[in-house]
Amino acid sequence: MNTQAALSPSESPTGSLSVDQLFVYYGDKRAMGPVSMTIPGKRVTALIGPSGCGKSTFLRSLNRMNEMILGCRVEGEVKLDDEPIYGPGVDAVAVRRRIGMVFQKSNPFPKSIYDNVAYGLRIGGLTDRAELTGKVEHALKQSALWEEVKDRLHESALGLSGGQQQRLCIARALAVEPDVLLMDEPASALDPIATAHIEELIHELAHDYTVVIVTHNMQQAARVSHHTAFFYMGDLIEFDRTQVIFTKPSQSKTEDYITGRFG
């Protein structure tokens, strides 16, 4: 694929994440690991598995959001295009500017639509009004929300529907031009039509971004992702192309899960 050719505005050529012997502990208890895998750049990678299997914990360790949880400890290394994100002297804040995140429940700030999308840019120090407006518009177009909100940018974001709010959160994350977008069950609280919108969007985003998505919905994983990782009891059981995982998994546990024998 010729996706390398200046599609992303960032310096990163690929935006791939390589995970090496990663463990996550809550207190003394191992929540996940060891996990080693390479998440390919500019592709959608789905993380599936039953509740409590560690997939969300793994997702949060990719942009150091686990550090917001008291008593959480991470061992091992994750590299974004060969740059360590856990190394000494690496600032978690800087990591999160390159690896954005969208949450299960849409969480727009109680500010205007415009101010929501501009938030990350403003805290990053951008004050030029014209530049801000241009980037806000671009992000809203990328998240396919522009047509619906262009006449009400300065109204409260809380007046949007659930699906629109989630696309706003995606726009907000894209505005800071990250390399990677992490999504934690981004459509689980939405109706089927809004879900279809989000899935279509995820597909589009893979042209420019590396997308890692946690989902409980296996049809969704099959529809949107190029690669799928199956987690079980804190371990990475299998990681392969989505087509392979869903047709010829090499592990019997994977097969049991996707055929609905447990989970």
Partner: protein
């Protein structure tokens, strides 16, 4: 059966509260309103406080409450932000600070008055005089600034507790969303958490102002004057205050019958002023709440 007994008992208790409030208001308004002329609220007392108005006391009260708020609000909000956002909740030091805040709220107000006299007037004020005024008495005596600071300490726990509650009410989602966008903790607190906590912080300010406007004990030794012909012009002047003026009128008058209508009118003004300060803060708060409620979808 049990239900109806409880209904009557709780109803009567409620009624009692209403009746008491009504009796106070009716009594104060009936006896105070006739004396409440324009001259009363714009002139200074005269003829041994048996005539004239109470303008200096109104001015002093407003000045005191404003200065108190300016001092207490930033300190209280900063303390609450530290306790809630930064301090390790399980650390011993954090718990000690919390216990201290709660105990501060339980200290009798006259003790604050004595503390203010010792600490602010004599120690801080006296110290300023010694170093900057060559021992002349400028700051080392009861003054508006010391009374306001004493009152600020008295109302600090109110502000801290209200602010902490407001901070707790900000959903964790908001902090996570901000962090995920590459905001530092300080940026998150400043741009996301505090703006959402503003209505709650204003509630704290309302409570602090209500308390501050009505308290007399903390200012007895720290700045309130029995009678002053002029308004305070600097922070180190003494001032008259409504609550203290009520006390003076009630206990120190040479002619009780001549003073009584003035006393009623002064109480009425004090009530109206407190109410007006509260109402302003409540209006500001509800505007803040409405601003982004999103109900106009």
């Amino acid at each position: 059966m049990g239900d109806s007994v409880l209904w009557v008992a709780t109803g009567l208790a409620t009624l009692l509260v209403l009746v008491i409030l009504l009796v106070i208001l009716v009594d104060v308004i009936k006896n105070g309103a006739p004396r409440l002329t324009l001259g009363f609220i714009t002139k200074a007392p005269s003829e041994g406080m048996t005539a004239g108005g109470i303008f200096p006391a109104i001015f002093g009260t407003v000045a005191l409450v404003l200065l108190m708020t300016i001092a207490a609000l930033p300190a209280g909000v900063a303390t609450a932000v530290f306790l809630h956002e930064y301090a390790n909740p399980t650390a011993a030091a954090t718990r000690i600070v919390r216990i201290a805040v709660n105990n501060l709220a339980g200290v009798p107000s006259i003790v604050f008055g004595l503390f203010g006299l010792c600490f602010f007037v004599q120690f801080v004020g006296g110290g300023i005089d010694k170093f900057f005024y060559g021992g002349d008495k400028v700051f080392g005596q009861p003054a508006l600034i010391w009374a306001a600071l004493t009152m600020a300490i008295l109302t600090l726990p109110v502000v801290i507790v209200a602010t902490e509650e407001a901070l707790s009410a900000v959903p964790r989602d908001m902090r996570l969303a901000s962090a995920a966008l590459g905001a530092s903790k300080f940026q998150t607190v400043l741009h996301v958490v505090l703006p959402q906590a503003v209505p709650g912080i204003l509630t704290g300010a309302i409570l602090a102002i209500s308390r501050g406007a009505g308290e007399v004990a903390p200012i007895l030794f720290t700045g309130a004057a029995y009678f002053l012909p002029t308004l305070p012009r600097t922070l180190h002047d003494q001032f008259m205050q409504l609550g203290y003026h009520v006390y003076v009128l009630a206990t120190q008058s040479p002619d009780v019958d001549a003073t009584r209508p003035l006393l009623y009118a002064t109480v009425l003004v004090l009530l109206v002023l407190t109410f007006a300060l509260n109402a302003t803060a409540i209006i500001v708060r509800s505007r803040m709440r409405k601003k982004f409620s999103g109900s106009h979808a």
